[in-house]
Symmetry: C2
Subunit: 330 residues, 2 copies
């Protein structure tokens, strides 16, 4: 493997000049630049970036902490992050934590050991079990919730949930079931609070029995639906806290002889692509997942370049999308 010294020898120029020719070509005379390039080509020289990074003390890398990469929402956020990272000349290290705190620690320590310059965390902040934000570690929380400390990017979950439930109420629904995420998940908390607000405005008393805890995965939506069908007084509408559970719930209802939306309305949250194509198509809240990723990355790079950003909490617009899975109660 040719090194910069080989190029130096081959071209008869000093290593300093080679280095300069590579980084700031216009500060090297055209004649010498040509010689450098000739030598590089002849030797098929590739700079050793490991050395370069070491020397410059910066990795030009960010790590993305993600509970589960095989979750489409996260994948989309990451896609947005990648787009701007590439534009900035940064690499992104995948930090798939499989939802364990140990893994998360390892990834966080990567910035302490210089392997990465900053972190974007896709796990929502939960007091008491959060590694970030942390002194000395530049990080931003993507897809955060209310009261998340540190730089963050999110939609207004409370308001979005409220809007969905408002809509259901306006359609005439009074008994509205909820399929939540894990009950202590910050997104669950925000969205539940929006649900309650809508109920309160309409003068409907909150009934905790109408909230069935899921975990944002399909099977839990299916289970929840089956529980609902076994109630003496089945709700006429279901507010599911994500699309996956909503789609599974529709299946669950259908398995038990309930047609959606004829017998029961179902709403989702996220607007995964499939929600537009499943049967029935899903009324849901469209989260700008890619945008959240892009914005998070932009924010992180601002932070990294020491230009104190004016705004460190970005609340992005969402969109409420009405499709086929909802209608007035019979």
């Amino acid at each position: 493997m040719a090194t910069i010294r080989d190029v130096s020898r081959e071209s008869g120029l000093s290593t300093g000049t080679i280095s300069k020719a590579l980084s700031t070509p216009d500060k090297v005379s055209p004649k010498n630049l040509a010689r450098v390039n000739a030598a590089i080509k002849k030797l098929n020289y590739k700079p050793n970036m490991l050395s370069q990074k070491f020397r410059k003390k910066t990795s030009n890398t960010i790590v993305v902490l993600v509970p589960d990469i095989a979750n489409l929402f996260f994948a989309k956020v990451i896609s947005g992050i990648e787009t701007v990272a590439q534009k900035e000349g940064f690499s992104v290290l995948l930090g798939d934590t499989k939802d364990t705190i140990e893994r998360e620690k390892e990834f966080v320590s990567m910035v302490e050991t210089k392997l990465a310059d900053g972190i974007i965390n896709l796990r929502p902040y939960k007091a008491g079990d959060a590694l970030l934000p942390k002194e000395g570690i530049v990080s931003v929380n993507a897809s955060s919730c209310e009261n998340t400390p540190g730089p963050s990017v999110r939609i207004d979950n409370v308001q979005a949930a409220e809007k969905v439930v408002d809509y259901l109420i306006n359609l005439g629904h009074k008994r509205i079931g909820v399929i939540s995420g894990l009950i202590d998940n910050p997104h669950t908390i925000d969205r539940l609070s929006g649900y309650k607000q809508a109920l309160e405005k309409a003068g409907i008393v909150f009934d905790p029995n109408l909230v069935i805890e899921g975990d944002f995965n399909y099977w839990s939506g299916l289970n929840a639906a089956e529980s609902f069908t076994r109630m003496e007084n089945v709700p006429t509408a279901i507010f599911s806290m994500n699309d996956q559970m909503a789609i599974a719930a529709i299946k669950g209802f259908s398995n038990n002889g309930f047609k959606v939306p004829d017998d029961i309305s179902v709403t989702g949250f996220d607007d995964m692509n499939v929600s537009r194509y499943c049967t029935p198509t899903l009324t849901t809240v469209a989260q700008p997942a890619e945008k959240i990723g892009e914005k998070s990355a932009e924010l992180l790079f601002e932070l990294l370049s020491n230009t104190t950003p004016k705004i460190t909490e970005h609340i992005l617009p969402y969109e409420f999308v009405i499709r086929e899975s909802t209608r007035p109660p019979k």
Copy 2:
């Protein structure tokens, strides 16, 4: 930032000893080990991994080339890769190429510049427009096709497609439409060839008009379905080359008054989670996506450790899953 020299000074031991204490603690006397640890703690020393990697000339990093991370199949493969990479102490760099060859080049050059040790490529090999395999670059192709050169991991696409179409034919279908991927996509080619084989065995002549080209995305499935409904002689079954297009096709048929499976059967390919939960549930080929990722990573690490692997082409088992979207023609 404390360096190894600081620890050396603080503990009164040489840098060599500190280094050894960190890498091979059992080769340092317990007494000194304690002193080293005390000093490390006191100074809050974190080894500079950039320096370490530079020195050791190995990045302990692999890059995963992926056409689109926001595709669930790829995301699952990556999840599998991450699992074994973490076990081996490797980091994975995300190489989201957004399907452009320029991006791909940049990522490939990362191993030439030492930023990564090897590559796992999720883009199927296509002669004439493949950067990999490449001399001097350790790589494996995950989710490959027939005749992919170099180390690879895949299922038998031809056989799987044949099996699906066999099943449809046994059900009594004779006019079987196809929603393909892009016509020059290697997976399309393999799966189409399986389709043709099944037809031939059954003595059905291949009708190119029954193949509608899609691109593996939802909307193309929707479009294809609409085209089928406009045919003078609508097929009684559809073999879709992935689940997304199948789900969208079901929607498309339903939009046009065709019920699945009553009026028309539809099969998918991949077995995305949603396929088990959508309505109707999808008959499909279950690809072991995570396993493909794991196997690819294992293969790459074998290659990286210079132990010439016995097998460099792994063909993993798939599973044909029969669900609700198929039945005999009316």
